[in-house]
């Protein structure tokens, strides 16, 4: 069953040879399909890094390639989190950057002059091809027939749940992490089957790589011990288990501690304690097992009870003592939010504000997995029928991952591999039974009888058998149709939903031609060209990485949300009156403020729609000064038109968004197309900032923070004075010459 395709090719008859060759060909084709289906965005748009986090990874990779590994390791970045800076080298998962750096240098060594950007853009599709191979190996361990492995490889190659995080340009940790996840699980299954130190050590090595690549490694850290624990509870202890688990744990934990960001977490953090506990438990079980071999049952039981009481007493007091003295850190917030979906909303708004941390909506399962989602339970059922060690693993994984995927959208990613495995198991079970044309006779049937009669599974086919061509044709036909529909669905979803870079937006003109909205890059490029190299840009944290990556300017906050207070400060500046905000801006050396405004175009992901999160996060720190309630009308509505509350209308964010917006429209006709409401007639009065740049479709608006007034007046007086005597205005203006207001 563990026959790799290479083995099949090398030995055995020619029939097996051709089958092996076919398998290799099919796998290569699948890998090619997996890669090419992820290239939509490159073809549609260009070879560009997508979204938010990838921009940071890209910037870090460039730094790594330019400055070498050691300075990357010690990188202190003073161009983010402006007054504070960030110890970037010690607070990131370096696996992704190092991987692409190595690939880059290998290609250079082979004298292939390739741009680091192209390596980064194409890394995710490349690794998805590898994921398909790893999936073939993993499923091959579960089922005797290679068709299951091939099906699983094909599924993981094109399933949207995985494509969503691995299209070309989506240069994120998940790009390589899913491959590592699947491959680590494959090695683990191999280890527990063979009980050899080598496989255990390989598992640990790939686990270490996984730790260096993605924070989701905690999933493995908990799943493998859980698997072992369940097996122990089922009374399936064996020396194979001891060997593979202890080797994995001893080496893997040590390996994971090599990453500075993880550091001492594996022995301090409660997330990792289950692995340690199972490690201790399996030592006890092994010792008990060792003793048992010397003793008859009665005495052993007696001894065992003594031992059990002793160890549990010791362990329990130890745990209480450690927790009470605070040696073991409490569970991390993201972990709590897995169990209690309301936890984050109440305690940590910064986690809840990220859209991918929201609970999954039901249609998303079907959208991302299509017909695999209803084959999934059937596959789990198939696992129950055999229920060897590796099938127990599938069962545990499916239960856990289904729960987690329901809690957080982003964890759909960890569910996808197991859904592919289970669905492939179920489907190959169906196909293997229905695709055989010949009718089994006498001996085969008798054998089947002998095997099956003991158990109560006579309802399944071998006993009865399906020999009519009609039913075979019907089943095969319908499965084929489902598969074709699956391919069509995947292609459609990939091309329509997951291939947008989100830096460049695309829309259709009425005549059907494509219209590219490139406001982000326009604005970032403006910043890069027209502002001094160390001009500090303040924006909401979503855009921090992009400003750092594309505009190359220092930012106050970015997507690495390590300092909640700092983010709350920005939130406070955005949500307060100008008189409150201006000192904050001055204190943080802010030169420019950048807001995203989608009102003109109907772009819904703009700052006014995220505004409530800014309010909530800053309210968490300054409950006296910022109050979420004040932004709602008396009837509890979030409005921006005439009915908007004074707090709302005086907030900096509101002013920055709508400044001069009314001048685009005939008087009294100003419309906000996102929120679908009419705006007040007069434009908000802005005193302490002045407009510096507005992009073509008004998506990005950049404002310059005014310097202190030359005559010592406050800004509102100065502006009022200027309105009376307009001639003096021109002389006083500093700042960039370009002023495209309309």
């Amino acid at each position: 069953m563990a026959q790799s395709s290479l083995d099949a090719l090398l030995k055995g008859s020619s029939g097996r040879n051709t089958r092996g060759l076919l398998r290799i060909l099919i796998l290569c084709t699948i890998a090619a399909a997996a890669v090419s289906s992820r290239l939509f965005s490159v073809i549609r748009f260009e070879s560009i890094i997508h979204e938010f986090d990838p921009w940071f990874n890209f910037r870090a990779t460039k730094y790594l390639v330019q400055n070498g590994f050691y300075s990357f390791w010690d990188w202190f970045d003073d161009r983010t989190w402006h007054p504070l800076g960030r110890v970037t080298g010690g607070t990131l998962y370096p696996g992704l950057m190092v991987t692409s750096g190595v690939i880059y240098h290998i290609l250079r060594f082979l004298t292939i002059p390739v741009d680091i950007r192209n390596v980064c853009v194409l890394l995710a599709p490349g690794f998805s091809g590898l994921t398909a191979l790893a999936m073939y190996l993993l499923t091959g361990e579960m089922a005797p027939s290679p068709s299951a492995g091939l099906l699983a490889a094909a599924f993981i190659g094109i399933v949207p749940g995985y494509i969503s995080r691995s299209v070309a340009g989506s240069y994120d940790n998940e790009a390589i992490a899913i491959f590592l996840l699947v491959f680590t699980f494959f090695l683990w299954i191999k280890a527990i089957k063979n009980g050899s130190i080598m496989w255990g050590a390989l598992t640990a090595l790939f686990y270490g790589y996984m730790v260096s690549a993605w924070g989701g490694y905690v999933f493995i850290t908990n799943l493998i011990p859980l698997h072992v624990f369940v097996l122990l509870c089922m009374g399936r202890y064996s020396s194979r288990m001891y060997i593979s688990y202890t080797t994995w744990y001893a080496l893997g934990t040590l390996g994971s501690m090599q990453i500075p960001f993880v550091g001492f977490l594996p022995i301090r953090n409660s997330d990792h304690m289950s692995a340690l506990g199972v490690f201790g438990l399996i030592q006890l079980v092994a010792f008990a097992d060792f003793i048992r071999s010397f003793l008859p049952g009665k005495q052993f039981q007696k001894l065992l009870t003594y031992m059990v009481f002793l160890t549990f007493g010791l362990a329990f007091t130890g745990l209480i003592a450690l927790s009470a003295t605070g040696v073991i850190a409490p569970w991390s917030g993201r972990f709590y939010s897995l169990w209690d979906t309301n936890y984050a909303k109440i305690h940590i708004p910064i986690i809840a504000s990220v859209s991918e941390h929201q609970p999954t909506a039901w249609p998303a399962f079907f959208f991302d997995l299509n017909f695999l989602i209803w084959l999934f339970p059937a596959g789990v059922f198939v696992c129950f029928q055999k229920l060897k060690d590796e099938h127990v693993f599938v069962v545990i994984y499916s239960v856990l991952a289904s729960y987690f995927a329901g809690v957080m959208v982003r964890l759909m990613l960890t569910l996808t591999p197991i859904v592919c495995v289970a669905a492939a198991l179920a489907l190959s079970c169906i196909l293997d039974n229905f695709l055989v044309m010949s009718t089994p006779k006498g001996a085969a049937q008798a054998k089947a009888n002998g095997n099956e009669s003991k158990s109560l599974r006579s309802g399944r086919n071998p006993l009865v058998g399906i020999y009519s061509y009609f039913s075979k044709a019907v089943v095969t036909g319908s499965v084929t149709i489902y598969l074709l529909m699956f391919v069509a669905h995947c292609t459609w979803v990939t091309s329509n939903a997951y291939s947008s870079p989100s830096v460049v937006l695309a829309s259709r003109l009425p005549d059907g031609s494509q219209f590219i909205i490139d406001d982000y890059r326009e604005a970032y490029y403006w910043l890069r060209q027209n502002t001094p190299d160390n001009a500090k840009i303040m924006s909401w944290w979503d855009y921090g990485y992009q400003i750092g990556g594309m505009a190359d300017r220092p930012t106050l906050v970015d997507n690495n949300t390590w300092n909640n207070t700092h983010i709350a400060t920005v939130g406070k500046a955005m949500s307060s009156r100008e008189e409150v905000s201006y000192p904050i801006l001055r204190q943080h050396d802010v030169d420019y403020v950048l807001v995203v405004f989608g009102g003109l175009l109907g772009y819904s992901g703009d700052d006014l729609n995220k505004f409530l999160w800014m309010v909530r996060i800053s309210e968490g720190i300054w409950p006296d000064e910022v109050s979420e309630r004040a932004f709602f009308t008396a009837r509890g509505e979030y409005r921006v038109d005439d009915q908007a509350t004074p707090t709302m209308r005086n907030s900096l964010m509101y002013k920055l968004s709508y400044h001069n917006y009314q001048s685009l429209f005939p008087p009294g006709q100003a419309m906000d197309r996102v929120r679908g409401s009419k705006l007040p007639t007069e434009t908000p009065q802005l005193n302490t900032l002045e407009e510096a740049f507005t992009s073509e479709n008004w998506i990005i608006r950049i404002y310059k923070v005014k310097d202190l007034d030359n005559f010592g007046r406050d800004h509102s007086n100065a502006v009022a004075f200027d309105k009376g005597l307009k001639k003096k205005r021109a002389a006083k203006k500093r700042g960039p010459p370009i002023l495209r207001t309309e």
Partner: protein, 166 residues
């Protein structure tokens, strides 16, 4: 579970020193044990059994494991008493001991053949149908292969430890 093992062997050590002088009475060992024997008696019996039935090579491995337990225990004691100041160094030292211990235990399981603790419990109860496979799998690893695996695992372990020690 180093400490447990340690405790068991030390408590029974003085009592067992005399019976070891009576050579090769392994067949009479189990018979002398009464059903309602006390825990100490049982432990003593186990110790005696162990000494008589274990081959020389495995005893060597056990001695090494016992040494590792001692080393690990000493480091842990030092950490508790004198503080954990170079925490990296303590961790890598301690986990080197623990890691080497489990690797050696694994090697022992693989090389002592059908000896103690390999596959007995899994042949019980509902798992009977997997017992055959289990037996075959553990037996499938030759001693040389097991030792090569052991070297491989130890190399990785010590590489990590040296890298981590600062």
């Amino acid at each position: 579970m180093p400490s447990k093992r340690h405790a068991a062997s030390t408590t029974s050590a003085p009592a067992a020193s005399t019976p070891t002088s009576t050579p090769k009475s392994l067949s009479s060992g189990p018979a002398t044990l009464k059903t309602n024997a006390s825990a100490a008696e049982i432990a003593q019996h186990v110790w005696q059994q162990y000494l008589t039935t274990t081959p020389q090579r495995t005893l060597l491995l056990d001695a090494f494991m016992f040494f590792l337990v001692l080393v690990g225990g000493l480091q842990f004691l030092y950490c508790i008493l004198a503080g954990n100041y170079p925490f990296n160094a303590f961790l890598s030292g301690f986990s080197a001991a623990v890691g080497q211990f489990v690797l050696t235990a694994s090697l022992r399981m693989q090389t002592s053949g059908s000896g103690p603790g390999s596959s007995k419990p899994s042949s019980k109860g509902k798992n009977a149908r997997f017992a055959g496979e289990d037996e075959e799998q553990t037996a499938g690893i030759s001693h040389e292969r097991a030792f090569a695996d052991y070297i491989f695992g130890s190399l990785i372990l010590h590489f990590f430890c040296i890298n981590f020690i600062n």
